[in-house]
């Protein structure tokens, strides 16, 4: 089921197996038949590590979604709640437990907190008078979930807000714990680099945790050569821009959740002609997207403009393969053709799906508004007219485009100008409050606190220096056969990835000046290895860098890193970890203050 996790340089199936084992151990603790009540948010991440069959093997007979009032009937001995440690969920659990039928068979209750027990939540359960009803209260540290052969995520939505707005370091602690788990499985990482306040904290925690676990010496040969910890607030710009890779655009337009995407069903009408038109599907079409699918692995990281030609080439190849049947004359030849059919049909299905998705996306990217928006984004990123009120943004507000879109553009302008002139900022603010409602004052303050939208202080715009030194804007981009990471945004090279690229060659010493302008400290730590475990690299062998984005990463950045990994003379392959896979819209949303 998860073979694609082992395709990469680092076999992430090892991690998946480890977390599965832990899950089994917990289930076996609650002896007898069981029902699981799910915090709905968790089913996505859990789906990436376990199927229902695994649970069934351990006597899970029923599964429900956590809802108020009474639990559905289930003839089981154990009821287990799988929940995130959130206060509002505790209230629902208490309601469930309290309305349990006292005359029915006695059932045992358990709670599994993911990823962490919370004293605050247990206190709430106690206040509600149900804490004593639970036999097992445990935690399941599903810190890093493998998404793909080179991609791990904690899927912690609130991580950025917690770190940069609330200064709550809990998610950093989880990140550090996740990294300790990785080191336990893949060996101590000898070198740690970092940039940013949170990166510094995580490194400190790791070093401290390592000191505490001196009891057993890690004797695993290190797989990773180094670790790069990056704060999201070192590069606030990149997620604000619209991603232009295939996968990035799917995420921008339809949203990818735990590697699944929901699409409008019309384009995926049932293919059997007989019953066509009878009952057109109304439910969204859900597709899983990962590199287990050969075609998707090939096109996901391409600039969208290069996708059409690949699809058309594939179509020709497949057509030709099916035509082969005419040449099959002998029984042996026919047999061989038939044996290939399943693979060909899978390829055909995959091609059909992606052709449909590409069409859907094309409808959007060819629209006038998309063009206008992109024009403005690219102007800002290349440093044009960032210091005055932008006409397109004004129009968007006047036509009441979604607030998230408006905020994203204004934040982009602010970041590309090292803050807006007070007059410009006040103008935007007033327009937003009058058009979308005064309560958004709170959201605007959040954005300001996170550094996304702020007045320019000291009257100096540092962005041009950063842009020029790091070559963030490239005028000659080859979207079809890229030569530089800037292809993922059709001109803009993601700052975060540029930092990674420069670290591996020629090293950060060359960009000291820019590093000082960017927020937070930059540092390097070494974790000494016993002599037996020190690696002697073969000539030509690539280094493996684990890059951890604290506060989230976009698919376009992932694509850019994969591009670097594949460069022949790149010298470094990347495994990417993050607190959350995100895009500009989900990011801004996480910072918005919503009515209670």
């Amino acid at each position: 089921m998860a073979a694609h996790l082992s395709y990469g340089r680092v076999n992430l199936n090892v991690l998946r197996e480890a977390v599965r084992r832990e899950l089994r151990e917990f289930l076996d603790k609650c002896a007898g038949s069981k029902a699981i009540v799910w915090d709905e948010y968790l089913t996505g991440p859990f789906g990436l590590i376990a199927q229902y069959s695994l649970l069934k093997e351990h006597e899970v007979e029923k599964m429900f979604t956590l809802k108020g009032s009474r639990l559905p009937a289930a003839d089981v001995k154990n009821i287990i709640f799988f929940v995130r440690p959130r206060l509002e969920l505790m209230d629902i659990i208490a309601e469930n437990v309290l309305s349990e039928d006292r005359r029915g068979p006695v059932r045992d209750f358990h709670i599994l907190f993911v990823p962490r027990r919370s004293l605050l939540c247990e206190q709430r359960l106690k206040d509600l008078g149900v804490l004593g009803s639970f036999i097992h209260r445990e935690e399941y540290s599903l810190d890093l979930i493998p998404f793909d052969g080179d991609l791990l995520s904690m899927e912690s939505e609130g991580a950025f807000k917690e770190c940069y707005l609330d200064s709550d370091q809990t998610s950093l602690y989880h990140a550090a714990k996740g990294l300790m788990t990785l080191q336990a499985l893949y060996g101590t990482i000898p070198q740690i680099f970092g940039k940013g306040e949170c990166a510094r904290q995580v490194a400190n925690m790791m070093i401290r945790m390592k000191r505490e676990f001196t009891g057993s010496q890690n004797s695993i040969f290190p797989v990773f050569d180094n670790l790069l910890l990056l704060d999201r607030n070192v590069d606030l710009l990149t997620p604000l821009a619209t991603q232009l890779t295939y996968e990035g655009l799917i995420d921008e337009i339809y949203g990818i959740q735990n590697s699944y995407v929901k699409l409008p069903p019309e384009k995926f009408a049932p293919k059997k002609q007989g019953d066509g038109g009878k009952d057109l599907p109304t439910e969204a079409k859900k597709l899983q997207l990962n590199s287990a699918e050969e075609l998707y692995a090939e096109i996901r990281d391409k600039n969208f403009n290069a996708v059409g030609s690949v699809l058309s080439k594939k179509a020709k190849v497949i057509s030709a393969a099916f035509e082969e049947r005419h040449n099959a004359k002998t029984v042996g030849e026919i047999k061989q053709f038939v044996s290939q059919l399943p693979h060909m049909q899978a390829a055909r299905g995959s091609l059909a799906n992606h052709t449909s998705i590409a069409e859907l996306i094309k409808d959007v990217t060819t629209s006038e508004d998309f063009f206008d928006k992109l024009t403005v984004e690219q102007e800002f990123m290349s440093g044009i007219d960032t210091d005055k009120v932008n006409g397109y943004i004004e129009d968007c507000i006047a036509q009441k485009h979604p607030l998230v879109k408006v905020l994203r553009l204004i934040c982009l302008q602010s970041v590309c100008n090292s803050g807006l002139k007070q007059k410009v900022l006040d103008y935007y603010k007033r327009e937003i409050l009058q058009t979308y409602g005064y309560e958004h004052i709170l959201t605007l303050h959040n954005l300001e606190k996170a550094g996304l939208l702020r007045p320019q202080t000291g009257g100096r715009n540092n962005y041009p220096t950063i842009r020029k030194t790091l070559r963030l804007w490239m005028d000659d981009v080859n979207e079809q056969n890229p030569t530089d990471i800037s292809y993922v945004y059709s001109g803009y090279a993601p700052l975060s990835v540029r930092l990674a690229q420069l670290l591996s060659r020629p090293g950060w010493r060359s960009i000291e000046e820019v590093l000082r302008i960017l927020p937070g400290p930059h540092f390097e730590e070494r974790q000494p290895l016993p002599t037996g475990l020190q690696k002697k690299r073969q000539p030509g062998e690539n280094r493996v860098t684990l890059i951890f984005f604290l506060g989230g990463v976009t698919f376009a950045e992932v694509a850019a890193l994969r591009f670097l990994s594949q460069l022949e003379d790149g010298g470094t392959e990347y495994v990417i970890a993050t607190t959350k896979l995100m895009n500009g819209a989900t990011w801004i949303e996480s910072l918005m203050e919503k009515p209670l």
Binding site: W38, T43, F46, Q51, Y52, S53, K62, M63, T65, R70, P72, A73, L119, L120, E122, Q123, K126, D127, G129, G132, S133, H136, R137, E138, S141, D166, S167, D168, Q169, A184, E212, F213, S216, P281, K286, F304, G308, L311, S312, A315, F322, L341, Q345, A346, L351, T365, F371, L374, T375, Q378, E431, L433, Q434, Y438, I441, L442, D475, D476, S490, P595
Partner: protein, 493 residues
């Protein structure tokens, strides 16, 4: 998709520079079509029952056997026991709840840390310890040294914190002196574990006076931030406000207070609450916005009451013809202005619901006002009002058309509200920039404007091209022919 490389000058001269173009537009599109075609044609000769070979996926796309799929499946099988639900309903009365053990106030927080309680009966500390769930890590990470002293009675602050971090029960009550408590806090902070820091803070909050707690946290910023976060989480607004006041973080105090209005549903109460926000130490800019927020809601309550009465009385034409879709309460200012331009356009300035009054009270800029009024009047197809919006008289009594938002915008809005061609035409003609005018006229099929403009530009080729777009034998075609045949015009091409 790249902005084509242009030199600076060229960029400034061209109004629109290429940002996202498919260089080979048609080619690209045809490629997609091509693969679509290929896919479709393949279907014809492949057996229909091939699905078995592919991964089994339910229509919604959940692979059969995935967790979210199984939830639906297994929950469905459980046989929705209607009878049971009915029973529950009847039993789910207040008395039913009353029988259940209620949270007793004697369950102090300390008891919670002492161990698990089971339906009211306390377990002793040692009981709790003997069966504390031991945490198993996926990979067996080395055990910290501290763990071997589990049963000792006098853990140091650092041991205590370490135990808390592992989710073990332990009592904090033993830490009585301020010094001990602060050391506990410092240990927790140095672990960076928010969960533990919060646990210690709960303990401190309970056992220290507010003044001392605030004073000590003021010099411990990390812990302070955690406390603020915690207070927000449990919605202890009062203590939070006290804290901000103590710290002299006045703006945060004001915002935090203002935030509370979001949870007040009743409009009257919300209004009263907003009143308490006026005068709080916001920044100067925000102060004005908060004041406006209050004034707006105050207005909305008056308008809402009045209009609801009018609507239900059924005597007012506008409400009969266009019943209100939603209440105006808590809507943004611009929406309110639209509403007022829609239902109360002609009212004198003195009334609260008149657009002019709103404009003055909230200092709505001209542009914003015209835009909103235009949209509202166009929606009602009140073309006279639209006309009046843009007509100005100079001191000689001549009338002139002027639009602060530019006539191209006017045309777009009119078209969105499906204005008739004659009306559109009039405003398209007022667009100053010739290219824009021609584009809009073509887009909205204002034939006369296109034809006249081509004539004025002496652009024979474009006119010829346009001839193919109009209906055969139509008046437009005749007009084009007449112009094309005219010998008066010196065509430029």
């Amino acid at each position: 998709m790249n902005r084509t490389k242009v030199d600076e000058e060229e960029y400034w001269n061209s109004s629109k520079f290429k940002a996202f173009t498919f260089d080979d537009e048609d080619d690209e599109l045809s490629q997609l079509k091509e693969s679509k075609r290929a896919v479709n044609s393949l279907r014809d000769f492949v057996d229909d029952d091939d699905d078995d070979d592919l991964e089994r996926v339910s229509w919604s796309g959940e692979p059969v056997g995935s967790i979210s799929w199984s939830i639906k499946e297994t929950a469905g099988n459980s046989g929705s026991n209607h009878e049971g639900r009915e029973q529950l309903k009847s039993r789910n009365s207040f008395s039913f709840y009353a029988q259940l053990p209620k949270p007793t106030s004697t369950y102090s927080l300390s008891s919670f840390f002492r161990g698990r309680t089971r339906l009211g009966s306390f377990q002793s500390l040692s009981d709790a310890l003997s069966d504390t769930p031991a945490k198993s890590y996926a990979p067996e990470l080395g055990r910290p040294k501290g763990e071997y002293r589990d049963y000792s009675n006098d853990w140091s602050p650092s041991d205590t914190v370490r135990r808390l971090r592992k989710g073990k029960v332990c009592s904090l009550e033993r830490f009585r002196s301020l010094q001990d408590k602060l050391q506990l806090l410092e240990e927790a902070v140095s672990m960076h574990d928010g969960n533990v820091i919060t646990a210690v803070l709960i303990f401190l909050k309970r056992t220290l006076s507010k003044e001392i707690l605030f004073r000590e946290l003021e010099v411990r910023q990390v812990a302070l931030r955690h406390l603020i976060h915690f207070l927000k989480e449990i919605e202890d607004q009062k203590l939070l406000l006290d804290l901000f006041r103590f710290l002299d973080r006045t703006e945060e105090f004001a915002l935090s207070h203002y935030r509370e209005h979001l949870s007040i549903q009743d409009p009257e109460k919300r209004k009263e609450f907003l009143k308490t926000c006026i005068g709080l130490p916001f920044s100067a800019e925000d102060s004005a916005h908060i004041q406006d927020h209050y004034t707006l809601l105050e207005r909305q309550i008056i308008i809402e009451a009045n209009d609801r009465r009018l609507e239900s009385a059924g005597q007012t034409e506008i409400f009969r013809k266009h019943p209100r879709k939603a209440s105006i309460l808590n809507m943004p200012l611009v929406t309110t202005l639209f509403y007022s331009c829609f239902y109360h356009y002609t009212e004198p300035e003195g009334t609260f619901s008149s657009p002019v009054n709103l404009k003055k009270t909230f200092k709505i800029p001209d542009k914003q006002y015209v835009l909103t009024a235009l949209a509202a009047r166009a929606k009602l197809r009140a073309w006279h009002d639209v006309d009046a919006l843009f007509t100005t008289k100079n001191w000689l009594g001549y009338t002139k058309k002027r639009a602060p938002i530019g006539f191209h915008r006017v045309v777009e809005i009119l078209h969105k509200n499906s204005a008739p061609v004659q009306i559109l035409q009039e405003y398209v003609n007022l667009v100053e920039d010739v290219d824009t005018k021609l584009n809009l006229a073509t887009k909205f099929k204002c034939h006369d404007v296109v034809i006249d403009t081509c004539r004025d530009l002496k652009d024979r080729q474009q006119l010829l091209a346009y001839r193919s777009k109009v209906d055969k034998g139509s008046a437009e075609e005749e007009k084009i022919d007449a112009i094309l045949n005219s010998s008066q015009i010196r065509w430029k091409n």
